[in-house]
Amino acid sequence: MKKSWVAYPYVVWMIMFIVVPLILIIFYGTVRTTPQGMEFTLEHFKRFFEPLYIMVLVRSLYLAFICTIVCLLLGYPVSMILASKEYRDKKILIFLMVIPMWMNFLLRTYAWLTLLEKNGIINTLISFIGLPKMDLLYNQWAVVLGMVYNFLPFMVLPIYSVLIKIDKSIIEAAEDLGANSRTVFRKVIFPLSLPGVVSGITMVFMPAVTTFVISRLLGGGQFLLIGNLIEELFLKSGEWGFGSALSIIMMILILFSMAIMSRYEKENEGGGLL
């Protein structure tokens, strides 16, 4: 008996709350109001190509890129150590890695706000040892720091879960064949861990490139990222047309890079065709 009809209510829901909203975004992004009524326009997309907005996009990509690299460089060794023989059974460590992920991310960002202030803990310590206070907050490094802090576990865990599944006999075989530990890493472990690295990169880069909270709180409204721009256009200046165009551009960018990334990932369970 076919019971596919039970999915139909959700089909309605899906059209209503997933498809129609996207159509609305496309509609607002390609239409302008003139005294004669609505007319089709590409001016919002054209506006995006002004150097200023390209720069915002470049800045977002740049900061997210740095954040991803730092997370990878910091996180990969952590995953390796956690997956190594002596730590393997220490479940508590993985548990400790998971907890920060579940902590409200605004609180995690807020924590740095209090630490980096001119009269915050770090500067108090700095002046305690006799050095001058530094401007730690409200620059792009504060934003990157906030991103790394928030997203590091998203890099560690996927890599860890791939590393832990690597068949030990492959490594042993390589060692038996005379490979030193460096070669084993370069030729065996790292290539095998690539799916984890790719999903780690995806999980860090995507939220980093679209964030507006971290840059607002730790950047002091000066390091406008593409997310901030969209937020401002919708909530502050009410320019829905340009805001929609930017959202479409961002969406295409993300979906496109997701599609590329997912080709490198192993079979994704229940995944889409993208």
Binding site: S4, F17, L74, L82, R108, A111, L152, L157, V213, L273
Partner: protein, 261 residues
Amino acid sequence: MMRHLKRLYIGIVFFFLYAPILILMIFSFNKSRYMSKWDGFSLKWYADLFSDRDIMSALYYTLLIAVLSTIIATVIGLITAIGIHDMNKLGKGIMVNISYLPILNPDIVTGISLMMLFVFMKLELGFLTLLLAHITFNVPYVIFSILPKLRQMNKHLYEAALDLGATPFYAFRKVILPEIMPGVVTGMILAFTLSIDDFVISYFTTGAGVSNLSIIIYSMARVGIKPTINALSTLLFISVLLLLLIVNKRTSNNNGKEKVI
């Protein structure tokens, strides 16, 4: 040597991850409202926290929305997953890809598109719109937790039950449901935590008088440093810790395979 280096490195990373939260927690007991000095132990920020009407109402809405959206999303997701499982290849492909959109799309785009929809529909932004938004982004996670379990299931079991005279609903309850239960539970937990933790989508889809904890923290952080937020983080940290401990215990008791990551 190498061992010590490893230990040191792990230690530093965990210090980086935990020090900020721990400092917030310690200073939630500070009498002074500034974090640059310690004025003595005090619980007054906790008292402030519990008498703050906005925070308490945000806590109430956070939990209410999380519970309601989880229940509704689980029911919809469960039914839909069964339906999708029975679809032909084309239908399945369309369904899976469209419901993947809220997962793949940046939150800000999902939030804004939903906001536009609600404004377009002339719905007043508030509790209802927030709930609808949360259900919308929760259902796909439930579906994708259940689908793999359905795929693993022996499809002849259900037919056998029908042949033996079970009504379809009885067969569903006795045969299918127990098989896919781990997926349902995973989906529920995912939905619940995503809902509790969400900021971006809620920020765009809620209106006057209805905020969740994330929104309150954001608006408080924009006004400045407030020790009540520190008190709130302490409590949230402890609840997250307890919740994870319970969940982990439960999953390791049950099948040991499933991890809530």
